[in-house]
Structures are given as C-alpha cells and as structure tokens.
C-alpha cells in the first residue's frame, strides 16, 4: 500500500542516533509502505511533544469463540491519525523456548504484512509473539491464516496466560527437567482455560529448568515450576583443579559465598556436604565444567507471584518441595492439585484477586486444608512468631456437642 503522508519528527529523530538498535528506525522502516506504521510515527511524535499517551482503554474485540488473545486498542485522535484509529494487539502463542526457522518467520511476516501494521514485539513480557496494530475486520483473517500455519493465539484477561519457559534441555546442561516439553504439554492441556477467561483473574505458569530461573518464574508467575535435584552435586575434581589453576579463588569466590556453608576446598579436592546444600546454583555457575546438578532431578513448585496491582507485589512461595517431572505428563498427580487449587480460588476468590493474594487473605494453612495438601516446613521461611493461633481442636469439640 502506498503511503502519501509524511510526518516531521524532530523528537523521535533523536532516538535514531546512538549505538543501540533503534525502535524508531523499525517503525519508520515499516511506515515506508504501511500506513498504520506511518500514522503511528505521527501519533508517537505527538506523545513525545505532549508527554502524554494517546491510546484509549481497550474495548472488547477478539476472534469468534475466544475470550482472550486480542487486546483492543483505539487511538483518541482517530481523525488526525486514521490508520491507527483501531490498533489492536494480537498475542500469538510462541513455540516453547522461542525457537523458529527462517521459513516460518517469513510466513508469519507475510501474514502480518498483509493484514497489520508490520510491527511486532519479539516477544511480549508473558512470552507471546506480539503483533502490534490490527483493525477489527482483519482479526479473523489473521487468525485463520495463523492457524493454517499451525499457530494459535495466546491468553489475555482472566484466563491461563501463555505459559513460557527457559530453553531448558534444548541448550542447557543445568536443566533439571524438560521445560519445553512440559510447557508445550501444559499449553495444550489447558487450551480451553487459555482461550476462554473463567477465573477471578489471570493465571500464569512459568517453567525454569534450574534455580537460576532465567524466565523469572518466582517473580512473574502464579505457578512457578523451578528445576532442582535431591542427590549429590556431580563433581569432576580434575576440572575443579583446572578452574583453581586458571584463577578462580575457590575459597573466596565459592566456599565463602555458599549459602549453606557446605563447601570445603583443601587446595586439591572440593568436598560438598550435600545435606546442607541449598541448591542455589552459585558453585555450579562459577565452575560449569567442574560441577553439575545431581542425577535425581525434578522440580520445586512455588505459587503466588505477582506485580503490585492490587494488594502489593508477591514472590511465589513453596507449595511442593520436590516432584519428579517425567513423561507421560498426563499421569502426574500434580494436575489434580492444580484443578483443586483453581476450584478453591474460583469459588472463593474476589474479582481481580490473584491466587497469591487470595492465599494471603485466607491464610496458607487454610488454603492447604481446602486443597488437601499437608503443611511442611519447606513452605515457610520460619514458623510463626506470634501467639495468635486459631487452635482448631476446640472448634471440633463444639461440633461434637451439637
């Protein structure tokens, strides 16, 4: 399509200079042929001049039969920038680990050049490939061509959000389970929950292969599945000696910084008291050829992380200290626990209350009771330090009297 309008952009031009790749250049490159991208330049320059955004609250738009995957977006200056009067976002569920081939990327670009702004985010915060800027009539054609290529939409609103993971066993020696395999399985298992919002609020899964947590699951997901191991760290003493020879100060850089204080180095051999190992990954990170996670691998499951809105930010906390993650994934008892948690949350959660906030409100102990999990010491940083205890045996006696 021809683009006849040209905007003067003295503010944005200043962001085309400098060594870091420029998003302004990307928008302008798309805007050479694409009127939506071109009008975005005009609108954005106005925002920069006024120090104010010009997007309206989204309306409800989407594809037939789905409640999520499209974020409605309209400009508040439709007369001035008509090509961005509708500028909806389409979230496309990424392949696990964000792997692509050149061929499939070209085909995705073909779809997007034909129907949208030619602008994307590779990728959005949750993990989706984000197609930025589509009109309402083009949503169905985009969806139809995406599915033909084997892609589907991601989540939005109060649904299971697009699960995401680190690259796991595809390229990392530390991955304690197959994060990509599990992520693909979870995404497929919960397709209905992903496309049709039915929860009090959003529900995110993130899978990290080890406690380095490269997808920030402990900070960013309601269900954080972090790979770990139960047996001894694997040691190659020869390679450890090589690190020492090549300048790693094993006492100062590793033993002193070990949170379990369980590492001993006599100048020749490293000894680890694995019963006190906190599985923090530091020693392994520093000497990847010398040390490796153990062989009895699985994951710790934590729950409840979220950003501040509404009741303050939370980190996930331990709900299952260790579980094996092995195929067939469908046989894992974990799914019963998940469905039980969702039932409790859906029955009792308030509107826009994340599961972490819900647990804070009703109490972790009560939540465990409802879900049918036993309390274990791994779930707390320390036991309570106040005496305001709701002893329940008294209540039970009262019940018996009735």
């Amino acid at each position: 399509m021809a683009v006849d309008k040209k905007y003067e952009t003295p503010m944005l031009d200043q962001l085309e200079t400098g060594p870091w790749p420029s998003f302004v250049k990307e928008i302008k490159a798309a805007g050479e042929e694409n009127p939506m991208a071109n009008d975005l330049i005009g609108l954005l320059e106005q925002s920069y001049t006024e120090r104010l955004g010009h997007w309206k609250h989204g309306g409800i738009v989407g594809v037939m039969g789905y409640g999520g995957g499209v974020i409605g977006r309209y400009s508040d200056l439709p007369e001035k920038y008509p090509a961005v009067s509708h500028f909806h976002t389409i979230r496309v569920n990424q392949p696990a680990g964000w792997y692509y081939t050149a061929d499939v990327l070209h085909k995705l670009c073909d779809i997007w050049d034909k129907h949208g702004s030619g602008l994307t985010n590779m990728h959005g915060s949750t993990g989706d490939m984000v197609l930025l800027g589509c009109t309402t009539p083009d949503l169905e054609p985009v969806f139809s061509e995406l599915t033909e290529l084997g892609f589907d939409l991601g989540g939005s609103g109060s649904d299971v959000r697009t699960p995401s993971c680190c690259c796991g066993q595809s390229r990392c020696e530390w991955a304690c389970y197959d994060t990509m395999g599990l992520t693909h399985f979870i995404t497929q298992k919960f397709q209905d929950e992903l496309h049709r919002p039915a929860f009090p609020y959003k529900m995110k899964f993130k899978m990290s292969g080890c406690p380095n947590d490269c997808v920030a699951s402990i900070a960013r997901s309601d269900i954080s599945i972090i790979g770990t191991w139960r047996d001894e760290i694997q040691i190659n003493q020869e390679e450890v000696r090589n690190y020492s020879k090549n300048g790693v100060n094993i006492v100062k850089e590793i033993a002193v910084l070990c949170p379990g204080k369980c590492i001993d180095w006599d100048g020749n051999e490293i000894k680890i008291d694995d019963s006190s190992c906190r599985h923090c990954m530091h020693c392994i990170n520093v000497m990847p050829k010398g040390l490796a996670p153990g062989k009895d691998r699985g994951a710790v499951v934590l729950m409840g992380a979220k950003a501040p809105i509404v009741e303050g930010a939370l980190l996930s906390s331990v709900i299952i200290p260790f579980m094996k993650i092995e195929e067939p994934y469908d046989d894992m008892e974990f799914w019963e626990v998940i469905e039980e948690m969702w039932d409790v949350w859906c029955d009792n959660g308030k509107a826009r209350e994340r599961i972490g906030e819900f647990i804070q409100r009703v109490g972790l102990g009560n939540f465990l009771d409802e879900v049918g999990l036993e309390p274990v010491a791994e779930m707390v940083a320390h036991p309570r330090d106040n005496p305001y205890i709701f002893y329940e045996d008294y209540l039970e006696e009262e019940d018996e009297d009735e």
Binding site: M11, L12, Q14, L15, P19, W20, P21, F23, E26, A29, A30, L44, Y48, E50, R51, L52, G53, H54, W55, H57, M64, N93, P95, Y100, T101, A102, V104, L105, W112, D113, L119, T120, N121, M122, T147, E148, D152, Q169, S170, E173, D178, T187, Q191, P211, N212, D213, C214, A216, I218, R220, P259, M281, K289, A307, P308, I309, V310, G312, A313, L315
Partner: protein
C-alpha cells in the same frame, strides 16, 4: 458452485518446538555437558557426544518490523541452516554448528546495527513494556527510555567486566507488565495526580461497585452526581496506583506535568547465593524528559558505576547493598533519603531497622 470452506481451526495451541529446533539440538537434547563463553555474546555448549553448538547473541529493541525479522531470518539461512531463537530478554540468538561462521555473522550483525553481547557478567537487553507506543495507562514511554539508557551503557553489554550480571527492567506504570519488581535496576513509570473523574460519562462506562472495590486504600467513595450514582475520591488516601482507571475509563490519571519515573534497585530472581529479592526504592521521582530522559540515563549510569567500583566479585547490586547497608549506599550515592523511602503499605514495620547494626 459453493465454496468449499476449510473448517475453522481453533484450540490448536502453539506448534511443537520440534518443528523449529536445529538438528544438532534435536540430537543432543538433554545431553549437554557444559558451556563456555569464549568471548562476549558467544556461548559454546558441548554435549556428551562431543558435539559443539555455538550461540551468537545480539541485542534487539524488542519492537521489530517484519523487515528486520526477515533480515534475521535471512542471516540464519546464510549462517546456520535457518535456525534462530529469541531469549526471555528480547535478544536474538543464532545457533551455529560451524565456528568459522561466527566472525562473519558478527560482522553482519554489527553492520546491521545489532550489537553482539549480553552474556555473563554484563548488562543485557532491558525487559520493558509498551509505553506511549501502544498502552493506554502509561505514565512514561518505554522504548525511548530504554533506547537512551542502552545507548549509554552499551559498553557493558558488549563486555563482561562487571562484578556480576546486571538486569535492568522498565515498566511504564504500576501494572508492571514488565514485572520489574525483582530487577537490579528497575525504572518504573508513576503518576502523582489523582484521577480526574469524568462525571458525565462515568455512569455509562463503569460499574460503580467494581470501581469502588478496585481501590486498595478505599479512597473511592460512593456519591451522587445530578441524581445518578457516582463516586468521589478521598484525595489524601490516593496512592496513584491507577487500579481504578484499569476498571473504569472515566477515571483518567495520566498527566504530563506530574507523571514521570522512579528508580528501584537491588532486586534479583536468581537463587544464586542469596534468595530472590524485591527491588527497593532509590530515587522517588524523575520528571519525564523526552526524547532521551537524560536525568534517568545519568541516574542509571551513576548506580552502575558505583556498584562496579565497589562490589565484590559475584555480588549482585542487592547483595552488595545488603553487605554495606542502605545508609552507606545513600551516603555513597548522594541520593537524598526522604519520607517516600519509608514504607507505609502492608507489613511496613518489617522494613524498619530493628537493630543497632549501623555503619557510621
């Protein structure tokens, strides 16, 4: 003749990653033994079989045109059988089996303006949100601030000379789509003016009980306007979180003269050494100063330099400050400590200093 309409596909989920992984990864899946970083931006993974996979990582602004994606795809075709991936921090990675292709690929990426780096003890790409490019609730732009900051710290992207890795994130409002709350340095857009209630449209656009319930501090109270149900705000109880605007468009909160950014530091998500921790408030407010936000760039640079000069090896920003104590950090940085630094939300008491462990 009737159109033979193909059946409408739904609920197919994403394609399986097997479709896209290079043969060397399929062959060595789960069999990687160790990795090395021979130079910034290049990873070498060695498998049990002795196979070697070379990854070249390049920075990206996240917002990419289809034109650029096609160029990346063509580079992948030229150098690595058409295989590439993206990282959780928006970098693009090319997956090579022939080490001889590393230098020519890096030369092509440099010529394209995409620097190679972001590995090991570096600053890698900034995780960020949409800002004025696409968001209705932004208190600042995202891409512009990120671009200006990365232009300034790019040397730390291209080298690995920091005490530990440093993760920067930016969210353009408290919704934190960028979940910045556990970053070494977080740049967070904030509002400082109460929502300007659009009394005329409010009854048409919003459900009042939902609106009242959305306020974490109960600052929104029911009232009537021209005989119809409406709301009013207890000004002194508003903490500018914009949650009401999220549920009700008739509560616009953005304001060019009072919106800006705050800077939070010392968070981490990795479990290495210390447990994951939240970022804490360092600089309560910097006004929006587009197009290059020089005050924000200067603040980030000052914190990076101070940490780089004073932290022990392997100490993330938060670990360094935990060791020296926050008062010493404020003295060293020259950032004035103010009332806004003292927590007054839930559990605030747990953040008060409850010992005599002080530095002088």
């Amino acid at each position: 003749m009737a159109d033979a309409k193909p059946q409408r596909l739904t609920d197919i989920g994403p394609p399986h990653h097997d479709r896209f992984m290079p043969p060397i990864i399929k062959k060595n899946y789960g069999k990687w033994k160790y990795h090395e970083i021979p130079r910034p931006g290049v990873l070498v993974h060695t498998s049990d079989s002795g196979d070697k996979l070379y990854t070249v990582r390049a920075g990206s602004p996240r917002l990419l045109s289809t034109k650029k994606i096609r160029i990346f795809a063509d580079l992948a075709t030229k150098y690595c059988g058409g295989h590439l991936r993206f990282t959780s921090r928006h970098n693009v990675e090319f997956l090579l089996t022939d080490a001889a292709n590393i230098d020519p690929l890096i030369a092509d990426l440099d010529a394209l303006g995409h620097p190679v780096g972001g590995t090991g003890n570096s600053i890698t790409s900034i995780v960020h949100t949409q800002g004025w490019v696409h968001c209705h609730s932004a208190a600042t732009d995202a891409s512009g601030v990120v671009k200006a900051v990365m232009d300034d710290v790019i040397d730390e992207f291209k080298t690995m000379e920091l005490p530990a890795k440093l993760r920067i994130a930016l969210a353009c409002c408290l919704n934190m789509c960028g979940a910045v709350h556990c970053s070494d340095i977080a740049i967070l857009g904030i509002h400082k003016r109460i929502p300007q209630i659009d009394l005329k449209t409010l009854p048409k656009l919003c459900e009042i009980p939902n609106l009242i319930a959305s306020c974490p501090t109960n600052a929104i109270r029911p009232t009537t306007y021209e005989g119809k149900p409406s709301v009013e705000i207890q000004e002194d109880q508003c903490m500018f979180c914009a949650n009401c605007f999220t549920v009700c468009p008739a509560m616009p909160i953005a304001d060019p003269d009072t919106d800006g950014v705050s800077i939070w530091i010392g968070g981490k998500v990795s479990n290495a050494r210390s447990e994951p921790m939240f970022s804490k408030l360092a600089i309560p407010f910097i006004p929006n100063n587009p197009p290059r936000w020089p005050e924000v760039v200067e603040a980030v640079r000052m914190i990076v330099d101070l940490w780089k000069a004073n932290a022990n090896k392997h100490e993330r920003v938060g670990e360094w400050i935990e060791r020296i104590g926050w008062p010493k950090f404020f003295r060293m940085s020259g950032i004035p400590f103010e009332k806004t630094h003292i927590d007054d939300f839930k559990h605030a008491g747990l953040t008060f200093k409850r010992s005599a462990h002080l530095t002088y």
